[in-house]
Amino acid sequence: MATKVSEHNSITGETIVRDMTAEELAQHKIDSVETETQAAALAAKALQRQALLDRLGITAEEAALLLGA
């Protein structure tokens, strides 16, 4: 399925829906990779956090209480 863009001209009020250009598609792919990278980093951080909680033998709520959060 083609990646669609809504293009709006505020002077005429006209909106068209078109396929992304090659340049826009390239940026879209860069953005998608960035999203995946951020999601992977967050998932890794969550795993590290859980591993630390397990090692300390406390829950996330107890850790928040301890830190005054």
Binding site: K4, S10, H28, E34
Partner: protein
């Protein structure tokens, strides 16, 4: 000026002008209907100004798109703007935004936003520093999410700033800055993945 009477179309018609044909220096307090801007205007002693504080500029409905490009919406008529939106998505997404000039996104790593999020899963700080876009909302696949965002000085040769809020299941409140002095004339909204469906509207804050 006139009063239109009749079943179903009664009303008061002030003087009809355009921004080019309106009187240059009429009596203080004169009210006209300006047809090219579709606004009621008041002469405020030394200049014309909109009768309302927030003036609708443009908007549109979209369906299953990966980006919304809005061109030529920021002009010298207004200094500050308000964007409202209501979108649905088929998967949980981040709603992102870039400024635009001459029909092209600015995607340099000069966008920064700080904020706060809260939701059923917890709460915390948001921080995106020197990234290629702002994050302006989180949309859950389970229900529509509406939000608003103010943009300051997008068409002025100074750093554009914004603040906004949105969300239901994950609400965010944030402020942001674009570290360039470019005069932007448009913006792009896009989901970080998949597509969005819904509508958006842009308003200008009257300068006087």
């Amino acid at each position: 000026m006139g009063i239109a009477q009749g079943l179903g179309n009664a009303g008061l018609t002030p003087g009809i002008y355009t921004s080019s044909t309106r009187p240059a220096s009429p009596a203080d307090g004169l009210v006209i209907s300006e047809t090219d801007t579709d606004t009621l205007q008041i002469y405020k002693g030394s200049a014309w100004g909109s009768a309302s504080g927030l003036v609708y500029i443009t908007g549109a409905a979209v369906s299953a798109v990966s980006a919304i490009n809005v061109n030529s919406c920021f002009t010298s008529t207004y200094t500050n703007y308000r964007l409202t939106f209501s979108f649905t998505a088929t998967t949980d997404i981040e709603l992102q935004m870039r400024m635009r000039v001459g029909g092209t996104d600015y995607s340099g790593t000069d966008y920064t936003d700080y904020g706060y999020f809260m939701g059923a899963g917890g709460a915390g700080n948001l921080q995106h520093v020197n990234v290629p876009n702002w994050t302006i909302g989180y949309i859950s696949s389970s229900e529509p999410v509406s939000g608003s965002m103010d943009m300051f000085n997008p068409q002025v040769a100074t750093k554009t700033q914004m603040n906004g809020m949105s969300g239901i299941r994950l609400s965010i409140y944030e402020n942001g800055r674009l570290n360039t002095t470019t005069q932007y004339d448009g913006f792009t909204i896009f989901p970080n993945t998949s597509t969005i469906t819904g509508n958006w509207k842009l308003y200008g804050y009257s300068n006087s």
